[in-house]
Assembly symmetry: C2
Amino acid sequence: MATLNETHDPKLTSWVVSANHGTTDFPIQNLPFAVFRRQGSAEAWRGGVAIGDQIVDMAAAVQAGVFSGDALAPAQAAAEPTLNHLMGMGAQAASSLRKALSKALQTGSAQEAALKACLVPQADAEFTLPARIGDYTDFYTSVYHATNIGKQFRPDNPLLPNYKWVPIGYHGRSSSIGVSGQAFKRPKGQVKPPDADAPVLKPSARMDIELEMGVFVGQANELGDPVTIDQAESHIFGLVLFNDWSARDIQPWEYQPLGPFLAKNFASTISPWIVTMEALAPFRAAFSHPEGDPQPLPYLSSDANSAEGGLDIQLEACIVTPQMRDAQAAPERFTLTNYRHAYWTAAQMVTHHTVNGCNLQPGDLLGTGTLSGPTLDSACALIELTVGGKNPLKLKNGETRTWLEDGDTIILRGWCDKPGAARIGFGECVGMVLPAA
Amino acid sequence: MATLNETHDPKLTSWVVSANHGTTDFPIQNLPFAVFRRQGSAEAWRGGVAIGDQIVDMAAAVQAGVFSGDALAPAQAAAEPTLNHLMGMGAQAASSLRKALSKALQTGSAQEAALKACLVPQADAEFTLPARIGDYTDFYTSVYHATNIGKQFRPDNPLLPNYKWVPIGYHGRSSSIGVSGQAFKRPKGQVKPPDADAPVLKPSARMDIELEMGVFVGQANELGDPVTIDQAESHIFGLVLFNDWSARDIQPWEYQPLGPFLAKNFASTISPWIVTMEALAPFRAAFSHPEGDPQPLPYLSSDANSAEGGLDIQLEACIVTPQMRDAQAAPERFTLTNYRHAYWTAAQMVTHHTVNGCNLQPGDLLGTGTLSGPTLDSACALIELTVGGKNPLKLKNGETRTWLEDGDTIILRGWCDKPGAARIGFGECVGMVLPAA
């Protein structure tokens, strides 16, 4: 599964000096992909790779002849206006490109001069979706989230009997997925107060977030050909932060019997930078179900998945209210969790999704589901943090939040940090709720 | 909403004589769109229009200079390898093209010679998906289906309280949608027998069909901009037949709390020909909820929707078993229903889907849900027809079917026929179950 190579060496430094500060999300050991152009320009969208506070403009770098050999074809694909082609080339191609980028960006590289001309400051860039997302599937991999929210939707029956056997997932809406910076109108929908005879159409009064990770599919599988658990990671390109905005008053009235629909599909936001599975190799974690829980069925089990199916990724959500924005206050963190708490791994998501022959395609997105941890302060949705709206969050400036208000901005962040490895990060996933139309 | 014009005149005939037999699905009053090429060729896929037993090759027809004026741009779009562009141009553009096609194909048309050279026999053609389907949503618009199936999944609670208020829908899988002729391996999945302690992974033993219609979205709406009920039909390009294959033993174990997933996403099949909303204008039907049922909320109500929101489309499903195939027996019909039995109209599906601001895009597909009628012989899934597997279908050759067996072929057909209008049809939607891998 995860193999360390020279690109992960924590001692590596780059001639892009901002990449060498220990606090950057984008040291030379990371090298995530996005699609960008200069802010406000009419330039073509093209792929880029983050290094420190800069972006390697892949179109310019290919033009400048920086890449050759095995790295050339993936470099050309990484220069396109969507990364679907790169994703579909598979893990080996992406790895060749990573090696070439790592060499070219290293301190002392002979390509410094050529590549320096291809840098664009991140501060000057705007981003778009890194891929045409054909299908988006959301999973439900935190047993803590499933239990917390189950208590509120089904007090007598919080965790359904299938949860510990089936990596529960459902299809979501691709068209309304946007990239960090997305601002969306508060949705309207049918809401039925418990004591009312009939529902009413109104703007949601229970706007919530869900802190998730998004898994971008790489290499495709053919319709009818399941992906085994040991092959699953070779079908994953990389990970982003993902905010699955939710309207908690629309959800309970509509979701039975076929699942959430309008409570979720008005907007979902991803971070622009896709951190590859290879970059995450130093942060693999052992994976197991708690003692006493059923072991996964054989198709969902493998030694590699047990040894290192988990991912040690710290995740946080912060809020900026309009009042905080006016006061230029720093974003305030209201939850901190870790992806390793998930009950099902990314590989298990892929394998389960395809066990019936369903075909995954390059650029498809799999959400992990809300990644709430075992304690309340690591819960990843307001519905959990406020216990269904009963205990509002208290912010440092004296404001409270039960649900999101108009003008509230949510910032998701994620990072990996452990002794013996270079810290890498995901950047930010920022979204804002606008007033209803 | 629906306006009759000269293209609907039942007296119109075509110089393509096979279009003038009263039994053809494709008289000059229909003019549906597909994407095709000559069978087994390496030709480019391009759009075509059905006329009798022929196809107007739109790429050839554009090349031949058959179209001009308002019809030229939509004709060029109709010649592309997917029809998304044509769909996105809106109803007015499609209508201009329809008028031009109707004139050019009429008996006595000056364009007969030019267009004759652009015909390809349908018998020589193969078809592909007519559009890149970005998102696919399945609705649940038959109250009879919801009640029948609800009785089996939730005996105490068959029709949930939201059903008569909310046009229930959920997201489905786009990648596994195929065109008529699709053959797919029987899916494997987790199945839990009621008396077992644990689920097992096995090939589905309860393969079923769902006879639906598919609604192709035309003109897009922007994210955040709902489509009103009176505008909804201007966002619909046309209709196809749709078979939402279902694995009934996978479904009950996986579907709670987030809805059906692997029980549905291994394959779904559409008919190749998209019949436009304009072609269906003579077959509109009054629409209302039964007396005593709640009236739809105002956003789902309009005079036009009440006057003619329904569609009088006859629908049937037929089976060909391997034994029947060997005996060269005719396909055997096992259900006959009508789209006008739906509890929610196509316009209500569009308006509800977008009321929260969700954006629909050209080529998106909306399934109506299984279109079971009020009586058991008009039920549109085996799970209903066999009452959950208890009463097998008896076929004329003495075979029985509780669920589909390997090698079974299902053929869906649909047509509109009433006095004073030319009969039009949808062609066929054919799919076959192959053995599990």
